[in-house]
């Protein structure tokens, strides 16, 4: 009996399953934007991944060399169309550092409120994408319903839902109103209750959790070295948040916790990266409440914007901000005129997408959408 089995077993060992390259995109229903991912699969598992970006390259940085500093602000909105407030904020912060001016306290707190609303709204969009990738459209619609409340807040603050054009060099465009204070507190209260429906739907379902647990492990060393920033990095044990460790614009005067998982084990899976963003949304609610109180304490007639010179002295500076997706930096080289000499944008997703190779190794092909959904990509800022 054993003699007849040996040739069969030997043949199975010698047999090599075919490794084929599967191309995911660029025309793909759910690839979160226009990019291509080439996956080399061996049976059911991925052994290599090669992302190809650049379909949306607009030459943004070169275009800014042609415009006045104030006219670049609407362009910054279009970098990431889902989370536009943070890029405008980053740009204004960078130019203010180059000018060496300090903006009024009220403007700083209003910027905090706008940033955190943007963060919640961006994370809800991410949650909708995660639901769709897992095959459940209920999560998509519920998350989008919650997101509508925050987009309405954007409308009340500055008149536009997504490309807001709100921060200005020297402050913000307009003050908040009484009704805005009331509406934002209502929205935040409602959100904290309604969010639990979605959390129960996902966390109590072992189908969802088993699609995310024990898949795509990343160590702390890998994250720090590969440049993976943002909630994904904090899920793998890197305890760093720019709002707390390198604070800008009065974030040091606001009390909040930064959710970090796996500080001791230093290895994180897909579920940890998911959990961090959910926690961040609740922390943003806390920040919004404190900032609104501080705005009320400052009073109605305090200045929210100061006049700034149009010409920026020569030199180079950079500003750094915690985008909903990671660390974004703007590096400005100025030459004394009213147009920038060089403006470089570091988008977090640009580096996060390059890490998709390490995230997809050893993962089943059926899990690739779920894993990539944790990067929360928005191709506008990758390609610029």
């Amino acid at each position: 009996m054993a003699d007849s089995l040996v040739p069969v077993l030997e043949a199975q060992e010698r047999m090599e399953t075919d490794k084929m390259w599967v191309i995911w995109g660029p025309q793909h229903p759910f690839s979160h934007g226009l990019w291509t991912l080439k996956l080399q699969i061996d049976g059911e598992f991925c052994i290599d991944a090669d992302p190809i970006v650049g379909y949306l390259h607009r030459g943004w940085e070169k275009e800014t060399e042609n415009r006045d500093y104030a006219r670049i602000i609407p362009m910054t909105d279009r970098l990431c169309y889902c989370a536009s407030m943070t890029y405008s904020h980053l740009y204004c912060m960078t130019v203010e550092k180059a000018l060496g001016i300090d903006i009024p306290e009220k403007a700083k707190y209003i910027r905090i409120v706008a940033d955190e609303v943007c963060r919640i709204q961006s994370h809800l969009m991410w949650l909708a994408a995660v639901g769709t990738d897992m095959g459940n459209l209920t999560v998509f619609l519920w998350a989008m319903r919650e997101r509508e409340y925050f987009l309405d807040l954007n409308v009340k603050l500055c008149g536009a839902r997504m490309t807001t054009n709100f921060p200005r060099i020297g402050g913000v465009r307009n003050d908040t109103t009484e009704l805005f204070d009331r509406d934002i507190l209502r929205a935040v209260d409602r959100f904290e209750k309604a969010m639990w429906d979605i959390i129960y739907l996902i966390d109590d379902s072992s189908v969802f959790v088993s699609r995310m647990r024990n898949i795509s492990f990343l160590t702390r060393e890998q994250c720090a070295n590969m440049g993976l920033t943002g909630p994904a990095m904090r899920g793998c044990g890197v305890d760093f948040d720019i709002r707390r460790d390198d604070p800008y614009d009065n974030y040091d005067k606001v009390d909040f916790e930064v959710p970090v998982l796996n500080k001791d084990t230093k290895v994180g899976d897909s579920y940890d990266r998911y959990m961090i963003r959910i926690e961040e949304m609740f922390q943003s609610c806390d920040i919004i409440r404190q900032a609104v109180q501080k705005i009320r304490a400052i009073g109605k007639n305090a200045p929210y914007r100061i006049k700034t010179p149009t010409k920026v002295p020569a030199g180079s500076t950079f500003g750094r901000l915690e985008d909903p997706r990671g660390e974004s930096i703007m590096y400005l080289v100025s030459d004394g005129t009213d147009k920038p000499y060089r403006l470089k944008v570091r988008s977090p997703i640009f580096t996060n997408v390059s890490c998709s190779k390490a995230m997809c190794k050893g993962v089943r092909i059926a899990d690739v959408p779920a894993v990539l959904a944790q990067i929360d990509m928005c191709l506008g800022e990758t390609d610029r």
Binding site: P29, F30, E44, G135, T138, F140, W142, S205, F208, A366
Partner: protein
Amino acid sequence: MVVEYSSILDWIRFIDPNTNPYTPFLSDNLPYDICYGLWEILGGTLAWLVNLLFPNNVVSAWLIDERTAVMFALILFMLVIFIVAFVVVLLNLWMERKVLGRLMDRRGTMIGMKGFLQCVADGLKTFMKENTIPSKVDKMTYIWCVSLIVGLSCLVACMVPLSDRWYVVNYDTGLLIIMAFYALAPFFILVSGWAQNNKYSLIGGIRAAELMISYEVPMLIIIATVSLLAGSFNINDIVNLQDTVWLVIPMFLGFLVFFFCAIAECERPPFDIAEAETELVEGWQTEYAGMKWGLIMLADYLRGSVSCGMVAIMFLGGWTIPFIGGTALPEIVFLIKAWFVFFLMIIVRGAIARVRPDQILNLGWKVFMPLAVFNLAIAVFLKMGGIY
């Protein structure tokens, strides 16, 4: 024997046609009687018209002859059965869109009779699309597979009886033959996945076939269990078994297992890896466009309504209500139960994410099959204990 009845009360008081001397029906098969009556009207009118022009001609005599009446009655009978099954499936589709919409905090389709005509319009739109066939596919297989999948699903949908007087043939092996035709579909899915000459479709076809075959095993074990309790495969016997208590109570495990296996067999979410859009475009349906795709979607919903019907027959008492026995319209009672099961399927779809292929196979072989066998053991104990 047919006796002239004097008022409608005579019929209402005695529902069972076999004991009611006043029954207006010829046999115990309601649609056949309706069609026979329809032909008597239609054929009689046509014969009378022709007779006006050519008195005493052969055609009129042939039209109202007994044997031609039976033949045309059977043709109309085919149409009636199919149309009823089709309308039930359309109502299933409509219910899914509305209920799933409400689950997601939106209204579902709203146009045309509260959204029902939207489903009809979508079907018409799919049928009117251009019939493109990719050049490198295996043409015979590609075209024939669609017909076979849809044809088999229609056949099975028509074979499910709606009550003890709405059936096609009263098989003694009714349940078994329905399952046998139901289980033929995975083979054609596999072949059609191969025929499309596309590596994604091939992967999708293999996945679909392995999923469906592995989920048929628990289903068959449960069918065997229920027939063991009833003593036969005849659907009438199985329904009459549940005149005191529905089988869902002693066989609750079997109900759950059969319900989830039915969801997997219909390729519905959460088990719809074969058509997972986010992964491999459309899986085994990638290269089908227009009418063929519409027919495949129809086949999905037909199989869905068949499995809901089977659950209603085997576990929810079919067309009877306990302790009341029969009612005036058992068809409606049966349909309400089948729609309730479908409602549960829709809620499961809305609440749960897609399960990964290896997890699905895990579930089928390592969880559902042992549970089905355990259920069989319970049934054996019940039978030995003399309860059934």
